[in-house]
Every structure is written in structure tokens, then in C-alpha cells.
Amino acid sequence: MAALAAPPSPVARSGVAYWADGYWRIFVWDLTNLRILMPVVVSVLILQGAGFVVGIGLFFPHMPTEAAIYVVTGAPVFGLLTIGLILEPQLVAAQRTEGSYEFLRSMPVPRTMMFLAWYTVSLIPALPALTLAVVVGSARYGLHLDVTPTVILAVLATSLTGTLIGYAVAHGIRNPMATQLLSMILIFVIFGFSPIMFPAAQLPHWLAAANLWFPFQAMANVVRSSLVSGVATGVGRSYIVLACWAAASAILAALAVGHRR
């Protein structure tokens, strides 16, 4: 009886093992959650990646090589942004509506591990779909890309910044309707008014100047510099812009998820 009344032996909620365990459990949780949605997500990414890269060629009587390079090397960036800025906010909005958001927050897992697990899961559908876009686009337009090992850094920096911005939007805005609306507007504006899949020189001057301070052109620039030589310039500045946006979004997201109510 005395043994039953004794408090349970204290579980150490710190240390690498505890963090790794939390990461793994949430990773499996997120993956299981996405299992039904996963085919849809992959299809959307293939359609808007490889599908768009091939389709945009129809707009030109003869596709110029420069335009082809921009579209093929920009498509993966747009795909990574779709995952970070659309999928995560929409999922969190759905969790808030159905009430599972609070339940997930109550789990004894460090918030950073929750983010890292989601980040890893989000890369699973993204990477194959985006590689396909680059391969199909290069074959369609006869491009010879010059892929360097920096592609790993560029893709990680791009996806991490995109996911952090999405995380800040998803957790910072409480109203699910507002989150969904904002993420839809964001992706339309990014698709049309950010020089990701076309050169910045094709925008009006004021819009091109504004884009220098937003992260989207910088993402395209770092990824492009790792896939093809001689097109991207100012890559160092782009990495700094990305680092600033990633840090700011991380702080906002940390404030939002760390906030006690």
C-alpha cells in the first residue's frame, strides 16, 4: 500500500535523450497525421512544380534560355514556400478549429523539438517533388545545370526560413479564418509579385526594390546560385537577408508558442 501511495519516480525532463525521444515521438505523430493528406500534398507539389515548369513554356513562341533557367531553378523554391507558408498554417488552423491544438500543446515535449519534427516531416513530400521539377524542366528545355554541394545549404536555408515564417503565422494568429486567408493571399502575392521564377528586372522598379528586403527573392537567389553558375549575384547578401528573416520569425514563433494562457 505504501508503495502505491509513493509518488512516481521522477522522470528527467532534460538532456539529449529526452529531447531526442520527444523529437522522434512528434515526428512519428506528424507523419501519421499527414498519412491521408500526403498523396494530395505530393500531387499538388508535382502539379505546381513540374506541371508549371512545363506549362509556362507554352506562353512563349520560343522559350528563351534565361526564362527557362529562372523557372526551372525557381520552381523548387516556390514549392518549399507552399509547404512552409500554406500547409503548416492551414494544418494549425484546422487543429484550432477542431480543438486538437491545445491537446498537442499539452504534450511534455520541448517546443523546439516540435518545430524540428514538423520541419523534417515537411521535407519528406517536398524534396522528391522538387527534384522532379528540376529534372523535368532541365530535360524539357535542354538545360545543363551545374549542381554544386552548396545546394544542400541553400535548400535547408530556404526551407527553414519558409517554415519558420509559416510557423510564426500559424501560431501567432489565433483566428483560424484569418490564418487561412493570410496564407492564401501570401502565396498568390509570392507567386505573382516576387521574382522567384522570373528576373527581378521584369518587375516595376519600386517592386524590385521592395523585393530586395523580402526573403523570397533571396531564397530563389541562393538556390539558383547552387544549381547554375553565372546567373545569381549577391549570394552573400541573400544569405544575410534569409538569416534575419529566419531569426525574426523564430523569435515571433517562440513568443507565440511559449505564451502561457
Binding site: 499538388v44 506541371g51 509556362i56 507554352l58 505573382g192 521564377m197
Partner: protein, 269 residues
């Protein structure tokens, strides 16, 4: 006294004096009542729908220019004269299926079908509202796009039938599709895929000659290319041939959509 009492029966206990529930007069009065119902029940969302149509139509016309870079005047004319089609497509393929789906989820259609008005009057009212909503959207999109590219268009008297038939076709097809597919979530998914295919793989802002032969052949019978052709012919000259065929294809799609809608709505459950 007795005469008065018998000649004015109390309303609560007896049916109203045989009201004729058929004929043109009854249909028209049902139609105007449903029109008032439709406008009143969507008074908050209709201005937003108009705004979205203009932003999306004009936005896409401008965005195509960013992707295309330096364009020849001919290419520019294609983009500007294709802009009205973008506005119409937004209404027919995004807004109308969205509203129909929302009403399905909320059970509003069951309520509407239970009203003592012919179902055709209720459907005609929805078509009227969204066809009318498209018209200012088309005009504003056209004005903004031609201002952006610095082009002067040649409007012909054909703008009236072209704008009306294009809007009516888009509304009818969007409505028919959304009614025919039972699950609004499936409709939503199909709409999202369709809008992508329409915006990238349809000859709306570029000549059909740029498509591979097989895709061009498919577009001859799908409604998007004829829609763009009919609208383009009404605001420009010398770009469109075989206009009669385009009108015929649009009319066929409109009638087909009405048939599909009539079949789904007329079915008893």
C-alpha cells in the same frame, strides 16, 4: 353580419383561396422573390466576391506580364484581350462552386427547394446574380489591364452578347459541376486543380498555335478557349477567326450545364 363572416374565412383554419402555382406569372413572381432572397442573403459576401474577381483577374493579367518579360505588341494585345476571360473564369470556376458548396454544407439548398417556388426560378435567380456580378468585374479588369500595358482596345457592339453569354456559360458550368458532385470537399479539390490547368495550359492569354496539336484539338471542344475567343473578338479586331463556332460551343456548354443542373436538382431523394 352573417354574410360578412362567411365571406371572410379566418386565415389560420383554412387554406388560402386556390392560389395558382403554375404559369408564367407565378414563375416570374417566384423568380423576383428568389432574386431578392439571393441578394439579401449574400449582401455581405457579394461585394467581396466582386473585389476578389477584379483582384484575381487583373492580378493574373499583370503577373503574366512579369513572367513573359519584354513582350511584342501582339503578345501584349493577347494578354489584355484575355484579361476579361480571367475575370469570368474566376466567377465561374471559383466563386460559384464555392457558394454552392457552402450552401450544401449549411443545408441552405434543402431549405430553398422546400420553398413554394419552382426550382427553375431559384436556379435562374442564382444564374442572374452571378452573371450580373461578372459584368462589372469584366469591365474593370479590362480597363486596368489595358491601362497597365498602355493599349487602346477597339470595343465592338458584340461586347453585349459576348459578355452576357460568357458570364452565363461560366456561371452555369460552375453551378452544374458543383451541384452534380455530391461532396463539396471533392468539388473544392477539383476546382483547385482545374483553375491551375486553366491558367497554365489554356490558350487564354497566348495564341492557340503555341500549344501542341493534340492539346489544341482538345481546347476546341472545351469551354475555356471559345470563352476567351468570344470575349477577345468583342474588344479587338483581327485576332479571332471562326467566331460562330466559338459562340456555338459556348451555347452548347451552357445548355449542357443547365441539363446537368436540372437532372440533379429535379431528382427526388
Amino acid at each position: 353580419m352573417i354574410d360578412t363572416a362567411t365571406s371572410t374565412p379566418s386565415r389560420s383554419s383554412e387554406r388560402p383561396a386556390s392560389e395558382v402555382r403554375r404559369g408564367a406569372g407565378y414563375w416570374l413572381s417566384s423568380y423576383t422573390t428568389m432574386l431578392r432572397f439571393d441578394v439579401a442573403s449574400q449582401r455581405n459576401t457579394l461585394p467581396l466576391a466582386l473585389l476578389m474577381q477584379i483582384l484575381f483577374g487583373t492580378g493574373m493579367a499583370i503577373i503574366y506580364g512579369f513572367y513573359l518579360g519584354r513582350m511584342s505588341p501582339g503578345a501584349m494585345l493577347y494578354v489584355v484581350s484575355g484579361a476579361p476571360a480571367l475575370a469570368v473564369i474566376t466567377t465561374g470556376m471559383v466563386l460559384v462552386p464555392g457558394v454552392v458548396g457552402e450552401r450544401k454544407i449549411a443545408g441552405t439548398w434543402d431549405f430553398i427547394w422546400s420553398l413554394p417556388s419552382p426550382r427553375s426560378a431559384a436556379v435562374a435567380s442564382t444564374f442572374t446574380v452571378y452573371t450580373a456580378l461578372s459584368l462589372p468585374g469584366i469591365v474593370v479588369t479590362l480597363v486596368l489591364a489595358s491601362w497597365r500595358y498602355g493599349l487602346h482596345l477597339h470595343l465592338t457592339p458584340m461586347v453585349v452578347p459576348a459578355f452576357l453569354l460568357a458570364s452565363l456559360m461560366a456561371t452555369s458550368v460552375g453551378f452544374g459541376m458543383a451541384q452534380a458532385i455530391r461532396n463539396p470537399l471533392v468539388t473544392n479539390l477539383i476546382v483547385n486543380v482545374l483553375i491551375f490547368v486553366v491558367l497554365v495550359y489554356s490558350p487564354v492569354v497566348f495564341p492557340i498555335a503555341q500549344l501542341p496539336g493534340w492539346l489544341a484539338d482538345i481546347h476546341q471542344v472545351l469551354p475555356i478557349y471559345p470563352l476567351a475567343q468570344v470575349l477577345r473578338a468583342s474588344v479587338s479586331s483581327g485576332l479571332v477567326e471562326n467566331l460562330g463556332v466559338s459562340y456555338a460551343v459556348l451555347a452548347a456548354w451552357t445548355v449542357g450545364a443547365w441539363g446537368a443542373a436540372a437532372y440533379v436538382i429535379g431528382r427526388r431523394r
